[in-house]
Symmetry: C2
Subunit: 365 residues, 2 copies
């Protein structure tokens, strides 16, 4: 599905057509922002948003009712296809499996658990349907403990926003032992570090960041996540919807230009692997990117953590549902064209069965 | 090896002969106390002490040199056979494997690790020889994370002083998935609770304590550990050597009389299972116990957490190394008869090979 060509003859710009990208950890500060956030997504090349259950208010989607409300709201306003995850809490393991069929995934926000972490997370692993993904943001020993519970319950686990060598090494070791674990790195983590924002522990240190770059092959997906919002708050940047989404591809395209990354890797980590891991429904969507186009410095982002003059590459055209929906950074679709689309059972189950079970590799080697 | 009879004719007391018992987590406040502590052990029916690497000063045995010193010291003064474990620290993973052949086990005192817990504990699992036991006192999510690392490194792990339903459930689940994990409960945890000593988080709550009693079959060993010392400090009891050892068997014998426990279970958890798990060398040692004898109230323990009038049962005789070394609570051995005895490689290795590897059970079922 990847075509790279020099068809922008007048300017000899390099262009490429790749599938519509998938935002696997899409954070919006408020569920009033579905329209503006998904418009910004679509223009930026993302045709699917898997929304996190948290907003600036904390965990917002926590049961069938809050999930239904969020879905109705998004259905009315979304310009991209989407799903919404439900948050695992200490108290909602009994009951949320009813909401599972409508949910994108179960998201375990580890720091929301105060006591009895092991037993309540274990309950979630036991009751959440096996064909639905589980995602966590746990780090360090907490990550190790969630990984153990996933293994004991024979569950797949996706680790969101890995930011340290220690955590990536743990995940690599778990993969070597055939645990069913995958991970993503937030794109901002590849470009910003704790040295620049000492108050943001979610960012990697400079040396952890170098390790992430050096081990991209072990990182299944890219994500956007909550980091752009946290950084914006910390530098008093305007909290516009779509924050981070707008800058993510230019950051990556510039890395391609710098020889640090290939377009193939972007497609893999923002489309192919997310499709496999989360079993998203197939989309009829593609984007045409121009790797040389400079980023207009007039975009209304206010203060930014990046020197925008250093960035280049942008999305020329987005095709979605058999029509051109964006052209040169403008939405040409007449209405909210997004649909609520969650993975279906059959495919998801078969994926789980194909995966080797805990320990298989260690037995064979 | 268990004989129960009524051979104490004059008093119709019930007596039994069982193997010399093994103190798998023997804490002494100072390594100056080997003589007094092992004398108290021997009189109380324990013919083997596996000493913890900590004293009241903190981690004391941390490298080859401190281990050798402790062993020389103990060899001179010990009245029981013994081994000494070495403490895993954040900084000593490189190097302590040299000390392994002389060490009883590697003890991972989880709370001593401040940062990089996962990577430093992982290093220890990678470098500590496979034929030597690893013990940890980790709890809750920390326990889950150590369990994962043990599983990823295909290592056996013994969990010391389990005190909550949550941790025991986790261990049960890990055993069901064929992880190579065993555990012990400190005897004091079966009789004292946080309700009595709110400042002692190492004690179980009353309901956790009931769960421990109800699930004795899943508890591999009994231990004595550090609890008697901590409780003594908290109630300003005199810190005599052998604290806790003296009261442990009377507590258990009284539970036997109350129908809550069998002598067989005591033998299993204080001898048979420790032998299997830690591969201690076979001892020629037996003790004769009198289940009905009242505990002399004149013992010089000072204040005690227990109502001594409620306790009965005591050790009449200890035979060790082919001689009677204790009679009616008095040592009759002429000198320190204990030897430094650590498990040998061959047997230990074969035990590891017999154990199912991680995940095997889940694959078969
Ligand atoms: Zn161009
Ligand atoms: Zn389960
Ligand atoms: Zn696609
Ligand atoms: Zn669609
Ligand atoms: Zn008697
Ligand atoms: Zn290893
Ligand atoms: Zn024996
Ligand atoms: Zn001996």
């Amino acid at each position: 599905s990847l075509e790279v060509s020099n068809n922008d003859a007048q300017t000899s710009h390099e262009t490429a057509i790749i599938p519509g990208l998938i935002n696997i950890a899409s954070f919006i500060p408020s569920f009033d922002d579905f329209e503006s956030a998904t418009r910004a997504s679509l223009v930026s090349g993302f045709t699917y948003n898997a929304f996190l259950p948290q907003t600036a208010e904390g965990c917002t989607v926590v049961d069938s009712e809050s999930l239904s409300n969020a879905i109705s709201n998004a259905t009315e306003f979304a310009y991209t296809d989407f799903s919404i995850s439900i948050a695992a809490l200490e108290t909602n393991a009994d009951g949320i499996e009813e909401a599972a069929s409508n949910a994108g995934a179960l998201f375990i926000p580890f720091n929301e658990f105060s006591s009895s972490k092991v037993s309540s997370i274990s309950k979630h692993f036991a009751s959440w349907p096996a064909n639905k993904p589980i995602i966590t943001d746990a780090k360090s020993t907490n990550l190790a403990s969630v990984l153990l519970l996933a293994a004991l319950h024979n569950r797949t686990l996706h680790v969101n926003s890995v930011s340290s060598k220690e955590d990536l090494d743990l995940i690599k070791m778990a993969k070597e032992k055939a645990l069913q674990v995958t991970c993503d790195v937030a794109v901002y983590s590849l470009f910003l570090s704790q040295e620049q924002y000492p108050e943001l522990e979610l960012l990697p240190t400079k040396s952890d960041q170098e390790y992430l770059w050096a081990n991209l092959k072990d990182i299944d997906c890219f994500s956007i996540g909550v980091l752009p919002y946290l950084i914006a708050k910390s530098i008093h940047q305007r909290l516009v919807p779509g924050l981070g989404v707008t800058e993510t591809l230019p950051l990556l395209f510039s890395a391609v230009k710098a020889g640090k990354l290939t377009i193939q890797e972007i497609t893999e980590k923002f489309h192919d692997n997310p499709m496999k891991i989360f079993n998203f429904p197939k989309q009829d969507a593609s984007i045409e990117i121009d790797l040389d186009r400079l980023i207009p410095s007039t975009r209304k982002l206010g203060l930014s953590p990046f020197d925008r003059k250093q960035l280049q590459g942008s999305v020329n055209r987005v095709s979605f549902h058999n029509q051109t929906v964006c052209l040169d950074g403008e939405i040409v679709a007449q209405q909210a064209v997004g649909k609520h689309e969650v993975g279906n059972k059959g495919r998801s189950l078969s994926m789980v069965q194909q995966s080797p079970t805990l320990g298989r590799k260690s037995r064979l080697s």
